[in-house]
């Protein structure tokens, strides 16, 4: 028999005051699949490994969902999911390092943890330029420290506000602003060098 619908039927919607309803894993998966998938890539997981990492994240969510404090709002759930994602990506990187593979691939091997640079990645004609742009930015992000990469991903790709970033990575607003500025400067410097190299190659 069909249950009467209620305005707060979505398991992710905040329940009415005084009511605490268990979160449903399926709803969390549907809501956060995109968030987890795209940010796994952005945090440095190679396209060939992203399926595994995304699955790992949702297995952890599945196990720990009953522990999640549901009194928070949707942003709290997103921060919680992000924390699991960031830990899973770190673990993925550690495992990858143990296999003595380079962090930034030096060939077009699709199993590498980080994308190859554009010149090394044979891409189909259609959409090649965009893929090269994506690969370039991801390879530059991969050269940054974990902390700086996370800040740039959350601020400039996920377009979170600084207070939202604070909820994800910890720290106060001023510290995050300051670190974000340093991270942007470093990324800008790296891109400047890449562009300079390209100009020299064109002139040569």
């Amino acid at each position: 028999m069909q249950q009467p619908s209620s305005p707060t039927h979505s398991p992710l919607a905040r329940p009415p005051q005084g009511e605490l309803r268990p979160l449903e894993f399926d709803a969390v998966y549907t809501e956060f699949f995109g968030f987890v998938f795209r940010n796994a890539r952005r945090l440095g997981v190679d396209a060939s490994a992203v399926d595994d990492v995304v699955q790992d994240v949702f297995v952890v969510i599945f196990r720990r969902l009953p522990e999640f404090d549901q009194r928070g709002d949707g942003a709290a759930l997103r921060s919680w999911v992000y924390g699991i994602l960031a830990n899973t990506v770190r673990e993925h990187r550690r495992r990858y390092r143990r296999k003595d593979a380079p962090l930034v691939s030096t060939s077009a091997d699709s199993s590498s943890a980080f994308p190859a640079t554009p010149a090394q990645s044979p891409t189909p004609e259609e959409g090649a330029e965009r893929r090269e742009d994506v690969d370039l930015l991801l390879s530059l992000l991969a050269e940054l420290s974990e902390e700086k990469r996370e800040l740039l991903v959350l601020a400039d790709l996920e377009q979170m506000s600084v207070p939202e970033i604070c909820a994800c990575v910890g720290g106060n607003v001023n510290t995050v602003y300051s670190r974000l500025r340093v991270a942007r400067d470093e990324l800008r410097g790296k891109l400047e060098r890449v562009l300079l190299t390209r100009k020299r190659e064109e002139l040569a």
Binding site: F37, P66, L137, L138, D156, L157
Partner: protein, 254 residues
Amino acid sequence: MSDVDHELSRLFDATRCGTEPAPGDEARIRASLGARLAQAAAAGAIAGAAASSAGTGASVAAKPVLGAAALILKLAGGALLFGVAATAVVALQHSNADVVATSPMAPSMRSAAVTTLSPAPAATISRRSGGASLETPQPPTIVTARSSVAPTHPRVEPTAAASADDPGTDLAGELRLVQSMQSALASQNDAEALRLAGEHARLFPRGTLVEEREGVRAIALCHGGVDGEKALESFARRFPRSPQLGRVRAACKP
């Protein structure tokens, strides 16, 4: 805006779009995840047994429930719609939470808690044109019974309905046996765990929880120091990708 800033902004825009999942990604990963969740749930059940009484709170008590959910998933026979089952898991955990929250047990007693899953859900499984799916109009009945400090393990026989067709599909019976093994292991009663593993092997030679049984058997053998190394080797050879391998190895480490 300098050329570099402009280029950086362009790269961010491209990456924002270029890292979004493709249309088929969610469904593909969802399909693979179903199997992973079943495996994780089964591994959780074994972890509850292999862990000593150091486990705390709800997580220990919840593990048998996850094991039960793994069975629900496995019943679907491969192509899993984990959503329904996962929802069932949350519902099951929720139904069990009161017992855990209001009745703190000694760790050994927590480990000995036996959760049984009524075989009724098996009857609600149907196959549709798109593959196997689960229909759970009512949450499966969970009966949580706490055994005494020295638990007794009732002899488990396949239910008549299941054994008439194939004893290997009596999952509720298998679950009871595996949980009894885990309880025995948690109570450091390795001999009883081995006896129950033998009984499982006799009743369910091709059962769904053979991997779980062999994990318990290997751990029990290693605890006893008899054929431990051989048990580890045998388990690793037979189930090289088992999530229990690490725990078996830990138990068998000299």
